[in-house]
Structures are given as structure tokens and as C-alpha cells.
């Protein structure tokens, strides 16, 4: 046991001293936050950037749309002085649309809209052609024309209906969303709140990625520099592997403490304590330990069998791929944490921690029985993985040459 600790301490100390570790621990999360803030800012800036007046040609086959169009576009222009649009009404004739398409294509006008006579009754589609594929601008034009047509419908109803009166009656009914635990308003941060489960899962993902890289590169270095033989004259392969896994899990724990602690502190200090709650951190701790152990054991087996980082990475690729699954499905799982789909995914060991953290953060009422069941399953697979990895490790660690196939590695498990 003392030797295991010695190995673990070296792994831990030497890893946290490396530049890679400092970069990935401190700078990576900062960079991610920065990028997230920046994209928001950039979108904002781009939105307010002044643009030259854009011309939208309208072929009005109803013949009655003009005042409504002017009113809609007028309102729009007064609200968006930087991105004004003007209307050019084109008398309908057979070739008008062809001609306008040509003009849009040449860049003389921004877009054209043809409103067929039946469009006011909703019986025919309007036609929109624009210079580029800026969805936002196209939608805006669509909405303005749509609103003009709706106003036309109100005006031409028999007897005429006052649009503003109907809108008044259909006015939004305000809601206050309340946090059931605190009784306080939870409104305004819906999206941020929804991102919390993802943030927790991402934390776990980053941690896993980090330690798996460390484990693989460390092992490959020891093998290629042949330090491994010296080590094996002092410790058994099993002790060596156990020490490495222990060291890696400690590094993972340090990462978790730094990141989760920062997140918790940040949320608290900005008065958004409800975002990161203690119970979530407790579950994070509960799931990350077996989660990291499982991953480390699998990767230790892979690392021990390979001699170049390239071989190791290609062999580890399927494992990495599995951890990406929760990243891709997180929205589905966070939206429906108790769907059959989510529950089934919770019982696939390497991704169990990710899925369960998502589910628990999305729904604090996740059944305790499920939490216990997944933890038992997780620990059982940790035991199995360490046993298998130990057997692969003791053979693989002294193997040089080409990387083995997974089938070969399985054969090693059966050696005496």
C-alpha cells in the first residue's frame, strides 16, 4: 500500500507541475467562459452595426396592401434606425417577378416579395426572394408583410374589425415562475438555469478528458523511456497501475474542487446561489469518483499496451466516443430526465456518471432507488475494469512493438 501511495504521489505532483495541467485547469475554463461571453457580445455588436438602406420590391396583386405596408415598414424603420428598409411597389404584370429576380440577382435591390391576390385569404403562398441567406432579415421581411396582410384582412372583414381591439383582448397573460425551495422569483434566468445540468456534465467531461490524457501520455513516456523496467523491479505491475489510477483520480478531484468551487463561489457572489446548489455538488462528488476510476482503469490498460501516443489515442478513440454521447444528447436528457431513454442510458457504465449528473441537476426528485442502483452498477464495473486492466497491464507494460488489437488484449486477460 505504501508503494501504491508513493507512485500516486509522484503522479500527482509531477502532473500538477506540468504546463499542460496549468493550462487545462486554469486557462481552458477561462477561455471557454470568455468565448461564451464574446460570442454574445459579438452577436450584439453585429446586430447594431449600421447598414445601408435596403430596398424590398413588392408586387401587390391584391392592390390594397400599400397603406398597410407603409405603416408596418414605417414602424420598423423608426425602431431600427440603423437597419432601415424601404419599399418599392411594383405594378403587377406577367413579367414583373422574373424582372425582379434579375434585379435582386444583380444586387440592385435587396429582396422582392410577390403577394398573390388569394394570399389575403390565406389561399396562396407569397413569394420571397432575397440576395443572401440571412435568415433573420428574411424573417423580418416575412413578418412585416404578414402583418400588413393581417391588417388588410381586419380592414376588409364585413363588418370591419378593429385590429388593436383584438390584440388588446389577446394580450399576454404574465406569469411569475417561483423557485419552490426558496419561494423567490426564478424568472429571468431560465436559460442559465437550464444550462446548469450541462455545466456540471461538461465539468465531468473535461475532467475525464484531462486525466485520460495524463494517464496515456505518462504511461507511454515511461514505456518509451524504459523507466518502466526500473519501476517493476521495485513494485508489482498491479501496484504500479493502482498507484497511477489513484494519482489520476486525485488530480481529477483537485480539478473538480477548483472548477466546482469557482462555479459555486461565482454563483453565490453574484446572488445566483440557486444555480449551483450543495446537493448537486454532493452528487458530483459521489459520481465522479467511480466515474474517473472506471475511465482510468480502461485507459491504463490501453496505455500499457501501446508504445506511441498515436497508437494509444486510436485505441482509446472508441472510449472517448462513448463519452461524447451524453454531450450530444444532453438536451434530450435534461428536458426529459425521467424518460425511458434517459433511464436506459443511465445504466451504461462509462457514461452513467454523465447521464446521472444531468438527470439529478435537471430534476432534483430523481428516485433515490435509481441513484443507488446506478452507483452500485458503477462500482461493480469499476471492480471488473480494474481486475481486467490489471491483467492486461502486467502483460502490456513489457510489450514493445506494434499496438495490439483489442482481441489480443482480451487474450492477455486469460494468461496465468
Amino acid at each position: 500500500m505504501r508503494k501504491i501511495v508513493t507512485v500516486a504521489v509522484r503522479e500527482f505532483v509531477e502532473t500538477i507541475k506540468t504546463k499542460t495541467f496549468i493550462i487545462s485547469t486554469v486557462f481552458m475554463p477561462m477561455l471557454i467562459v470568455l468565448i461564451m461571453l464574446m460570442t454574445e457580445r459579438i452577436a450584439e455588436v453585429a446586430e447594431n452595426e449600421p447598414q445601408p438602406m435596403r430596398t424590398v420590391a413588392v408586387i401587390d396583386e391584391t392592390g390594397r396592401l400599400e397603406p398597410f405596408l407603409h405603416s408596418e415598414f414605417g414602424t420598423y424603420n423608426s425602431e431600427h434606425p440603423m437597419r432601415r428598409m424601404e419599399i418599392e411597389l411594383i405594378p403587377p404584370d406577367a413579367a414583373a417577378a422574373d424582372h425582379l429576380r434579375e434585379r435582386v440577382h444583380r444586387g440592385e435591390i435587396y429582396a422582392y416579395v410577390r403577394v398573390p391576390a388569394e394570399a389575403s385569404r390565406g389561399e396562396a403562398a407569397c413569394e420571397l426572394g432575397a440576395q443572401d441567406s440571412q435568415i433573420e432579415t428574411q424573417r423580418r421581411i416575412q413578418r412585416l408583410v404578414e402583418s400588413a396582410i393581417v391588417s388588410l384582412r381586419f380592414a376588409s372583414a364585413d363588418p370591419p374589425i378593429e385590429r388593436s381591439r383584438v390584440e388588446q383582448l389577446q394580450a399576454d397573460v404574465p406569469f411569475r415562475v417561483v423557485d419552490v425551495r426558496t419561494g423567490r422569483d426564478a424568472t429571468g434566468n431560465e436559460l442559465v438555469r437550464f444550462m446548469t445540468p450541462f455545466a456540471f456534465m461538461f465539468l465531468l467531461f473535461m475532467g475525464t478528458l484531462n486525466i485520460s490524457q495524463g494517464l496515456l501520455t505518462g504511461l507511454i513516456e515511461e514505456k518509451s523511456s524504459r523507466v518502466i523496467e526500473v519501476l517493476l523491479s521495485a513494485v508489482s505491475p498491479t501496484q504500479l497501475m493502482a498507484g497511477k489510477i489513484l494519482g489520476m483520480v486525485s488530480i481529477g478531484a483537485l480539478l473538480m474542487v477548483i472548477w466546482a468551487g469557482t462555479g459555486y463561489y461565482a454563483a453565490q457572489s453574484r446572488g445566483m446561489g440557486y444555480l449551483v446548489q450543495v446537493y448537486q455538488l454532493q452528487y458530483l462528488a459521489l459520481y465522479f469518483v467511480p466515474g474517473f476510476l472506471l475511465m482510468s482503469a480502461i485507459l491504463a490498460a490501453i496505455g500499457s499496451a501501446c508504445n506511441t501516443i498515436k497508437d494509444a489515442q486510436s485505441l482509446a478513440f472508441p472510449v472517448t466516443l462513448i463519452t461524447i454521447v451524453p454531450m450530444m444528447l444532453w438536451w434530450q436528457i435534461a428536458m426529459n430526465p425521467n424518460s425511458t431513454f434517459s433511464i436506459v442510458l443511465s445504466y451504461i457504465p462509462p457514461i452513467t456518471p454523465f447521464i446521472m449528473i444531468l438527470r439529478i441537476c435537471a430534476d432534483p426528485k430523481t428516485p433515490l432507488l435509481e441513484i443507488i442502483a446506478t452507483l452500485v452498477l458503477l462500482w461493480a464495473s469499476v471492480g471488473a475494469a480494474i481486475w481486467v486492466a490489471g491483467r492486461v497491464f502486467r502483460v502490456g507494460v513489457l510489450m514493445y512493438g506494434k499496438a495490439p488489437t483489442p482481441a489480443e488484449m482480451l487474450r492477455w486477460v486469460r494468461y496465468r
Binding site: R2, K3, T6, V7, R10, E14, T18, E221, E222, S224, S225, R226, V227, I228, E229, V230, L231, L232, S233, A234, V235, S236, P237, T238, R391, R394, V395, G396, L398, M399, Y400, G401, K402, W412, Y415, R416
Partner: protein, 321 residues
Amino acid sequence: MSVTDALVLQNVTKRYGSHTAVNRLSLRAPAGEILGFLGPNGAGKTTTIRIIMSILYPDEGEVRILGQPRATDVKDRIGYLPEERGLYRKMTVDGTLRYFGRLKGLSGKDLNTRIGAALERVGLAEWRRKKVEALSKGMQQKLQFVGAVLHQPELVILDEPFTGLDPLNTETLLELMAELRARGATVIFSTHQMETAQRLCDRLVLINRGRKLIEGSPTEIRSQFAMRMLTIEGEGDFRELAKAPGVVGAHVSAGQARLELSEGFDPNEILRRALESGRIARFEVHRPDLHEIFVKLVEADGARPPPAPVARAERPEAAHA
């Protein structure tokens, strides 16, 4: 088996597929002596040492190391310097020794003083806080040696310890090995440099193609070979002498000929011929040295061993079940 033997191998055999790397090898290393483990490249020295270290397991035969069947049971009493050497490049000299020392069960103040003394002894004291990558190859090798013997093991096993060392460092290493013996430790080292082995070893084992050719003390071995050797040095072409009657073995190089004479043949015959070939500076009849004995033995055995198998083709052997 005597209780005073630090290591005993009995009929140890190791096969890699159809290739037999070690073939019914028996040898013993009496406690407190230096055993030289000799043989040409590919003779099976490293495989044997790995079997001794329980890194590989023999297919047949028995190993007893410090009274135990497996080196794993007595790890802390053994110091091992593998043939393939490596260090953590980014660790400091001090950190490296500290780590190796701790793995061997040392700790605290004792470890600290030992590191200081050992580095002082090999002249690396001022490098203690430097990173390993800053050290020259020779210094790294000395560092590794220090790492292997820091815990004062009873048995030290060195695989090709002299490879890559300059003459000065070779001398230092020879002294260190003598110091280990003086302290009572048993030292086993493999080499293909007969001369260094001859100077230091109490006992020698020569293997070729996985089999033992001869075992004994240098004096014992030399007394078994009564052949007469003739060394001629001077200016001239001595190649013709190799074909002279009475010469049964010859190694001729520029300015030198080392000849083995058949029994009862008069060396003066050779001297006469030599005088025709050039100017003679030295002419000496002498007993063979170990180098000559071993070359003769290995050549008689079939000089070239079969090519070593590629590592991947080996049946991966489970160490430390």
C-alpha cells in the same frame, strides 16, 4: 544448493515459439562475490536476467534468489539496473532518487543522507537540483546506478552496466562495484567486454545461444586451457602467418598477429617466417587470456546466434501473477 548462494538457477529454459532463448541453464552466484555473466550479443543474457528478476517466467527450471523462488518476494533486497535504461527527463536528480528510494522502502532523513552521500561519491553532488534532461548520457547512467543501489541491496544485478561509458566512468563504476562487494553485497553483471570482467570478477559464466559454455573463477578457467598463444607486433604484413603450419587459430590486424599454436610446435619456426614478413618489435609466447578463450569457445560453438525474435512475436509472459 548452499545457503551461501545468493542466486541459483537450475535447468532454466525459456522458449519464444521455436526459438530457445535460454536452454537448460544452470548457474550459481555465491554470496559476497562478483559474478560476470558473459556472452556475445543475443546469447540470452538479458532474457536470463529478466527471468532472475521475475519480469519473465521460465518455461522450465527453477530459480532461487536470496532463498526465495521469486524476485518479487525480495524486491527491496535487490538492486536492478536494466539493459534498457530510462529516467524521467523532467524530474530533478534529487526527485528521481527520492522516488526510486521510496519505492524501495527508504524514507525521511535516512533517504536524504543516502542521496547526498551517493551523489557525492559519483561526483554528481552539484547536479542534485538539476533536471535529468540536463545531464550527459554518462551522468545519467551513473544516476541510474545510484538509484539501483541506494537502498544498499544484498544482491545487485546490472545488465550491461558499462555500455556507453567512457574509460573514466568505467573506472568509477568498477570501483563502485568493488565497494559493493567490500560491503558484503553480491553483484551479478552481464557484459561482452571480457577485459573488464576479467579485472573484477570472482566468478565468470559464459553463455552462447542460451547455453552455458563454461563457468568458474578466472584462474580456474584459464588453467583449463593449456593452449599456447603467440603475439607478434611490428611493421609488416603478418597475414601470411595465419596460414603457416602449426598455427591452429589466428587473429591478424595491422601491425599485430595473435596466433594459437598447435601442441609441441616450435615458436621459433613462426619467428623465422615473421622476420621475412617485416620488422618485429615484440614476440611473446604466453598463456591465453580470457578474451581468447571465450572467442575460441564461442566460435567453436557456432559464432552467430540465430536472430533474436521481434518482441511482438514473443508470447507475452505474465509477470507477477
